[in-house]
């Protein structure tokens, strides 16, 4: 796209970022952050990185946005207005100078490097062996599979950490209900959420499948699934499961466990996380589907938060 378009886009990104940080109202700041995430997604599109654009809009703007809004609503319900004590003008000026200096240093560093995609050519020569065409999926699941494996455990670990700080009376109950719909009011969102859940499953499956050759993949598909689960929970179509539900726990570990299992199987062939010749695509797609299910469930539960005592379930929805 043209340089003028990119320039305007970058100015809008900086403007929304500044608004999200400098606004007095915390909720207003979060709304600007969501707009910022969507503009960032367009920036990634402009860079030709469609995979990242999908992930940024779905996770960076969508999931992070709903997470922050929900935390804000729950804090407000507890009487915390989410206001910042004002910092002294001197301190703000000093911090502005320091951060300005950091920006200058980073800019000098950035300008000293000339942008290059030389890894792309190396990766392109290795792609035919995998039988898939999306180089980003190739890097994620084959060339740097170690990173991705650990990342899936980071995500699972975050959920374990969120669960670990549940109050003793709350363990192992359900998270606070997200439902905003009751049988008498908001039947539209209730019906909508029922329709959207199966549609999001189809969309997630499509994104994972197409992620082998075109933009998409396990993280993007899993996030769409998480979105469907969350909207269904908001509409009251489903209740989120208890933390000790064995089916839930098996879905949560399915992806990382399968990835790790296939990776360990690679040791028999000589190297951790190597795929047997001829089976690369089948194994990559299998891992991706399992990962998408686990990522969807994990992200949805991360947004819902820690388990709470049953009495609080009715009033904790906000």
């Amino acid at each position: 796209m043209s340089l003028v378009f990119d320039l305007v886009l970058c100015l809008m990104i900086l403007g929304t970022a500044a608004a999200s940080l400098l606004m007095r109202s915390a909720l207003g700041g979060i709304v600007f952050f969501i707009a910022f995430g969507n503009l960032l997604g367009i920036a990634w599109l402009s860079l030709g990185a469609v995979n990242v654009a999908l992930a940024e809009i779905a996770i960076g703007a969508g999931v992070t946005g709903i997470l922050l809004i929900l935390a804000h609503a729950r804090l407000s319900a507890m009487g915390d207005p989410v206001e910042c004590e004002p910092t002294s003008p001197w301190m703000r000026a000093a911090v502005a100078v320091i951060c300005g200096g950091l920006i200058v240093l980073l800019s000098v560093a950035v300008l000293s490097i000339s942008p290059t995609d030389r890894m792309g050519a190396q990766i392109a020569t290795l792609m035919p062996a995998l039988g898939i065409e999306n180089p980003v999926t190739g890097v994620l699941l084959a060339f740097r599979a170690y990173d991705t494996l650990l990342e899936t455990f980071v995500l699972l670990g975050a959920l374990v950490a969120v669960w670990a700080i549940a109050p003793p009376r709350g363990w192992p109950q359900r998270p606070a209900s997200l439902a905003i719909a009751t049988p008498v009011s908001l039947t539209v969102i209730g019906t909508f959420s029922r329709v959207l859940l199966p549609a999001s499953l189809v969309m997630a499956a499509y994104l994972v499948w197409t992620g082998s050759d075109l933009p998409g993949g396990a993280f993007q598909g899993g996030t769409v699934l998480a979105g469907g689960i969350l909207v269904a929970a908001l509409g009251g179509a489903i209740a989120l499961p208890r933390a000790d539900d064995m089916r839930l726990r098996s879905v949560l570990v399915l992806g990382p466990a399968m990835f790790l299992g296939i990776g360990l199987g690679g040791i028999a062939l000589g190297r951790f996380l190597s795929y047997p010749v001829g089976l690369e695509k089948a194994l990559i797609v299998a891992i991706e589907y399992a990962l998408a299910l686990s990522i969807g469930a994990t992200l949805a539960l991360l947004v819902a938060g820690k388990p709470v005592p049953p009495a609080a379930v009715q009033e904790g929805g906000d």
Binding site: L21, V52, A55, L68, A71, A96, D147, V154
Partner: protein
Amino acid sequence: MEALATGHLFALTGAVLVGLGLFGFITLRHALRQLLAVNVSGAGVFLMLGGLGRGAATTDPFPQALVITGIVVAVALTAFGAALTLRQAEEDHAAKEDDERGGKT
């Protein structure tokens, strides 16, 4: 030449975002808003990676994959940070209610 300029433009935007996020992180005195500031800084780092991976026609898939990993780790961090903030607020709220009840009797 234009591809180089595009890459540098986005990488410089990323550099400014890192500084903006750090400014917000230090000056905003509420954990939830500090989480938001960390996310702005993180997005800046991702944009620097992506911008510097911009070639003549395409963007290097290697930084793209790193950025996707980074986005997922950032959301995991945000979720845990929000949960900790809420848990702390619950403790404070319960302590305040106890104080009020103690004051009445």
